[in-house]
């Protein structure tokens, strides 16, 4: 779960990590008021969960209160990368001497947290890692021991940080580590951390991503979830207890198991079709979940065929077939539906589907071939 910049900065403030003075605004009136309080020279930053806000016109520098009002008018209510801008952060203008990149993240390769810093701050770090990989300093952190002071000195030396700032730099990283651990973050990033012309270190931007698996430990943070960041269909999927991701094609997929769901989409693609969604219904396949999942798939008007692919292990295929049939009693549709059942009692399961409107199939290749064929019909 990603936090918005302003939410991340509130978190930073709670941990004594310096951030610019500023507040969140939802209206032009509020922007005006905050700009007045901050003396007129402000930065207006759209609060949407995507990178590249600046390039999309979502970050503007205002030299006067009138300008602040004008920019707020341009940004509030607009869309950035398809997400509505409902709030802007109004920060005081900071004069910058130097920009630094700083982050702590989960590193999959080492299976440990990793501290990264660079003297190339304020730029896209992915880009820096391609163009100047030697300019990114990385230090793996022992998750049981935590950060060692020598590691921080080592990082400071390697990004050519002036000795005058080592103490403040260390303090900020220690506090960032606390945020990372206390909140079960998967990423805490400051890009840039700046040295101001008053010789102070300040987090100009802030990005915090939290581990969804750990939200039970942080109910207050869970309330900060941004509903605009997730497509409504995925939220609906979460509600009915399935894993759902919207795709671009026209073949709806309903599968038990994430790996098998991916494999199903892959074979559809291999055969020249395109899946409309990823949907993992989880273990078993009870009638109610099948019904709700089908409704979710059918809510996409592009869907021209549906492929149900269920492996029956402990839940036998004949039980799964009964579940599917009872779900279909509740749903009216003309869209062709191919059902592939495999595993325990698969022949009995497929027999139950004969003489219904469903199209039974024994192998994945056969099922996908039929579904791709049906979805292609009517196209010329």
């Amino acid at each position: 779960m990603k936090l918005q910049e302003y939410q991340s900065k509130i978190l930073f403030t709670m941990y004594n990590i310096p951030v610019p003075n500023g507040r969140i605004a939802e209206s032009i009136g509020e922007v005006k008021q905050i700009s007045e309080e901050l003396g007129g020279r402000v930065v207006i930053k759209a609060q949407v969960l995507s990178g590249g806000r600046g390039k999309a016109g979502g970050v503007r520098i205002a030299k006067t209160i009138d300008e602040a009002e004008e920019y707020a008018n341009q940004i509030l209510g607009k869309e950035i990368y398809g997400m509505p801008v409902r709030k802007v952060l109004v920060d005081e203008m900071i004069s910058i001497d130097k920009e630094i990149y700083l982050s702590i993240a989960n590193d999959r390769n080492s299976q440990k947290p990793i501290l990264m810093a660079s003297s190339f701050g304020g730029m896209d770090i992915e880009e820096v890692s391609r163009s100047n990989p030697e300019k990114i300093v990385k230090r793996v952190i022992d998750p049981l021991l935590g950060l060692r002071d020598y590691q921080l000195r080592d990082v400071a030396i390697n990004i050519d940080l002036d000795r005058d700032y080592w103490q403040d730099f260390s303090t900020i990283i220690h506090q960032l580590w606390k945020v990372y651990v206390d909140c079960d973050a998967t990423l805490v990033e400051v890009n840039p951390l700046v040295i101001t012309s008053e010789k102070k270190l300040t987090a100009l931007d802030a990005k915090v991503v939290l581990d969804d698996n750990a939200m039970f430990r942080h109910p207050n943070l869970n309330d900060l979830r941004d509903k605009d960041a997730v497509p409504p269909s995925e939220t609906q999927g979460r509600k009915i207890g399935v894993s759902f991701i919207k795709m671009e094609g026209n073949i709806g997929c309903l599968v038990n198991g994430a790996g098998l769901a991916m494999a199903t989409m892959d074979i559809i693609k291999e055969l020249g079709g395109e899946a409309a969604n990823f949907l993992d219904i989880g273990g078993g396949a009870n009638a109610k979940k099948v019904e709700e999942s089908l409704r979710l798939i059918l809510s996409d008007e592009k869907v021209k065929a549906i492929l149900i692919n269920v492996f029956g292990g402990i839940t036998r295929c004949d039980e799964v077939a009964k579940g599917i049939l009872s779900a279909f009693k509740e749903i009216q549709t003309n869209i062709p539906i191919v059902v592939r059942l495999v595993g325990t009692n698969d022949k009995e399961g497929l027999r139950l589907l004969q003489d219904t409107e469903l199209i039974p199939a024994g192998s994945l290749l056969e099922a996908a071939t039929i579904a791709v064929g049906k979805a292609g019909e009517g196209k010329a």
Partner: protein
């Protein structure tokens, strides 16, 4: 022979009195797995499944009394870290964690702790192990595989069953199937299992089922190229997956340009591993 579990495995079930724990204990028992004990803190002294399995308050007490040498964990996600630490401290050689949804930082601490211990961990978020005819440790349906000479390693659940079933339908038996799990931070990986299969006298070929996310398959390709004499066939799920989306499993995520199915397929193909386009194609690619 087989790897990791066999008829001599003395299994302990952590979280035995929960719904999942109890249901799957019954399934494992009916497969004739040698289950010697269960652990649920606060329920020590009880017996479950008609008095067949004694329940203990702690892993150490269960080990002391029953000599358990493997543990399978079904406790809720929030207790996973503690349950693994407890099993490791009781010096159980093999711990298999089925539970999905463990916090990543908990698992990083577990992993770091394991680096100085001799316990092997499988999972979390995995279907466990099956040595057909001998032991089922976890939730893999027992009836879909019979004993044979193919080793199976997989990051997935039902996709693994699909492959086991396809092998079964083609008259191919399995030495051991290891579901290593779909989390980004986990215990044993492809390479650890490949090493065991290479050394296992009964295994003649290995099937590897990978998916998008991370670079474990690429690392496995290096290992295979340098160390494996037995043929390996692979399937990689997620060639149609979009970047930046978590495809069900916590670890199934293309980050930036890394972790794509294409990169994994290319790494494996370049060293001569045959790649199946869909699971049913796997049996036909195995030559032993």
């Amino acid at each position: 022979m087989s790897i990791l579990v066999n008829k001599d495995t003395r299994l302990l079930v952590q979280g035995i009195t929960g719904n999942e724990g109890l249901f799957h204990t019954e399934q494992m028992l009916s497969y004739k797995t040698n289950i010697v004990a269960g652990v649920t803190p606060g329920k020590g002294g009880d017996w479950v499944l008609n008095g067949k399995i004694p329940v203990f308050d702690s892993v150490q007490s269960a080990v002391d009394v029953t000599g358990a040498n493997a543990s399978v964990i079904f406790v809720p996600a929030r207790f996973v870290g503690d349950a693994i630490f407890e099993a490791v401290d009781a010096e159980i050689p093999l711990v298999v964690c089925i539970t999905e949804g463990a916090p990543i930082q908990d698992m990083m601490r577990v992993k770091q702790y394991l680096s100085s211990r001799s316990t092997r961990l499988i999972g979390p978020n995995c279907p466990g192990l099956l040595t057909p005819g001998e032991a089922k440790v976890g939730i893999i349906p027992g009836n879909i595989a019979f004993s044979g000479n193919i080793g199976v390693i997989s990051r997935s659940g039902t996709l693994t069953y699909e492959v086991l079933y396809a092998l079964n339908q083609n008259g191919m038996g399995v030495s051991t199937c290891v579901g290593i799990g779909g989390d980004p931070v986990k215990g044993m990986n492809f390479v650890d299992c490949l090493e065991l299969f290479e050394a296992d006298a009964r295994t003649d070929a290995v099937v590897m089922i990978g998916e998008i996310g991370g670079n474990d398959e690429e690392i496995a390709a290096n290992y295979i190229s340098a160390n494996m004499t037995k043929p390996v066939v692979a399937f990689i799920a997620g060639i149609s997956a979009p970047p930046g989306k978590r495809m069900g499993h916590a670890g199934a995520l293309i980050e930036g340009n890394s972790g794509t199915a294409q990169s994994k397929i290319q790494a494996l193909q370049s060293i001569g591993v045959k790649i199946a386009r869909y699971p049913e194609e796997i049996p036909g690619l195995i030559t032993v």
